[in-house]
């Protein structure tokens, strides 16, 4: 967040100047702009402080408010999930024997482990809600028309990816509820015509065992997050091309500076963090005992986002040969 720090008011020689004499900081900074996070192009021949000032004063539409904030939240929450996820992965062991034990070690025995675990779980919950609401809002406001198709399809892909991340991540704790929720979820997935058998092949079989666990792990920590990051990049890059979604009708487009926008975003992040900490502390996700493939606990149902396809399949006359 050094980009957001206001330049030293007294014009004293600071570490930025010292570093500037050795490296072209503006060029490093421009990587960010190329990646799409900054609205304006950057002149890399000028010192970074001027560049930052210029960027900070760039007028931008006020988009950290209203329904536009949903897009920001998908990025912020994903960053949170990435950080906590990496920390959890340091101690997690993806084998049926050790999965539950290692998760319990993280949650019970490691200092702050419970906090990271609950933050990860609640973050995932919020992220799933946010991407779904965002998709609904894009649809509702008709924001899938040209030239915004890329944004629309990216949003669809993000919903799908988040649901898959949630589905694969749920199994990893390997406690009784998560295991049986996955078993039932898999049944729903495999009952799909055509896609079902293909997925069964990709996921390593219809039986939830150690093969499936390690594939879920690989998907959860490597494949799906990579695709999600790509989606975030596509979103930012396309936004630079086609601009933000238009302001609601009848209201003038409020403009602000980029600095203002960054602070608002920071405040949003802090607020979100507070909400997550509250949820993690007050309503922690509970563990059952370790999963036993031969004992089904009562009250297990597919995760909530699986209910729609589940209900559909109950009604659809799927031909038996599929």
């Amino acid at each position: 967040m050094s980009a957001t720090r206001p330049p030293d008011p007294n014009g004293r020689a600071s570490w930025v100047d010292w570093l500037e004499r050795r490296i072209n900081l503006s060029e490093i900074f421009s990587f960010l702009t190329h990646f799409g996070f900054v609205i304006t192009p950057v002149d890399t021949s000028r010192p970074v402080r001027e560049v930052l000032r210029e960027v900070a004063e760039t007028p931008v539409p006020k988009y950290a408010s209203g329904p536009r904030v949903l897009g920001l939240l998908t990025a912020i929450l994903f960053a949170l999930e990435a950080v906590t996820g990496v920390l959890l992965a340091y101690y997690y062991k993806p084998t049926p024997e050790a999965a539950f034990e290692s998760t319990r070690t993280i949650v019970r025995d490691l200092p702050a482990g419970w906090f990271l675990h609950q933050m990860h779980a609640w973050g995932a919950w919020l992220l799933a809600a946010v991407v779904v609401i965002r998709l609904l809002r894009l649809f509702w406001d008709g924001l899938y028309r040209a030239p915004r198709e890329v944004l629309w399809w990216t949003a669809v892909a993000m919903v799908w990816l988040v649901l898959q991340l949630d589905f694969t991540g749920r199994l990893l704790t390997w406690d009784a509820h998560s295991y049986w929720a996955t078993v039932r979820g898999m049944e729903v997935v495999f009952a799909l015509p055509i896609a079902g058998p293909i997925l069964a092949f990709l996921l390593g079989g219809r039986v939830v065992n150690d093969d499936v666990l390690i594939r879920f792990y690989a998907l959860h920590v490597m494949v799906l997050p990579t695709f999600y990051a790509a989606c975030v990049y596509f979103t930012f890059a396309t936004l630079r091309r086609v601009g933000l979604s238009p302001a609601p009708e009848g209201r003038p487009e409020a403009t602000t500076t980029f600095r203002d926008h960054l602070y608002t975003m920071l405040m949003l992040t802090v607020g979100l963090f507070g909400v997550l900490v509250t949820l993690a502390t007050v309503l922690p996700f509970r563990f059952l005992s370790a999963a036993d493939p031969y004992v089904t606990p009562g009250g297990v149902r597919p995760p909530w986002y699986m209910l729609a396809p589940y209900a559909t399949l109950q009604w659809l006359p799927v031909p038996a040969w599929l």
Binding site: L87, L110, P111, A112, G113, L116
Partner: protein, 155 residues
């Protein structure tokens, strides 16, 4: 930075220092977030070897000189309590204190030098073998080493 404040209007030198102090204070305040995050992550990432583990592999059972010859002592260690018995001047044995029958905690009979389960009168000798009674298996024994007068049991 010259933007005037309603309350800091009159003075010239004082507001500047106060503003600087305020700036410093708020920066320190924000810095606490970084400190907190570093603390949490650091505590979490500290390698597990440095922590005391409940199922530790090497358990101290006290000083050898504190044991009289023939004395047996129950060491309460997690879910695997064990007896440490000093046989003579040097030899010390360690046996599980959990009866192999229905998991009662056995007693040490010093006169007869046997371990007696209070529940069903299962008896074990100091090598762990079943002498009589219902226990189906021998008691597990643990390796013992004496270092600098202190008894360590390898679980």
């Amino acid at each position: 930075m010259s933007a005037p404040r309603e309350r800091a209007a009159p003075a010239t030198g004082e507001p500047a220092t106060r503003r600087r102090f305020l700036t410093w204070l708020s920066r320190a305040f924000l810095g606490l977030w970084g400190l907190g995050a570093a603390g949490v992550v650091g505590a979490y990432l500290r390698a597990p070897e440095h922590r005391e583990k409940v199922a530790g592999h090497l358990v101290s059972a006290g000083l050898l000189d504190d044991f009289k010859i023939g004395e047996g002592r129950l060491v309460r260690h997690g879910v695997s309590p064990f007896y440490v018995v000093r046989l003579d001047a040097e030899r010390v044995v360690a046996l599980s204190a959990v009866c192999t029958h229905v998991r009662c905690i056995v007693d040490f009979d010093r006169e007869r030098r046997v371990l007696v389960c209070p529940c069903h009168d299962g008896r074990f000798d100091l090598a762990g073998n079943v002498l009589s009674g219902p226990p189906p298996r021998a008691l597990p024994t643990y390796a013992v080493s004496v270092r600098a007068g202190e008894i360590f049991v390898h679980l």
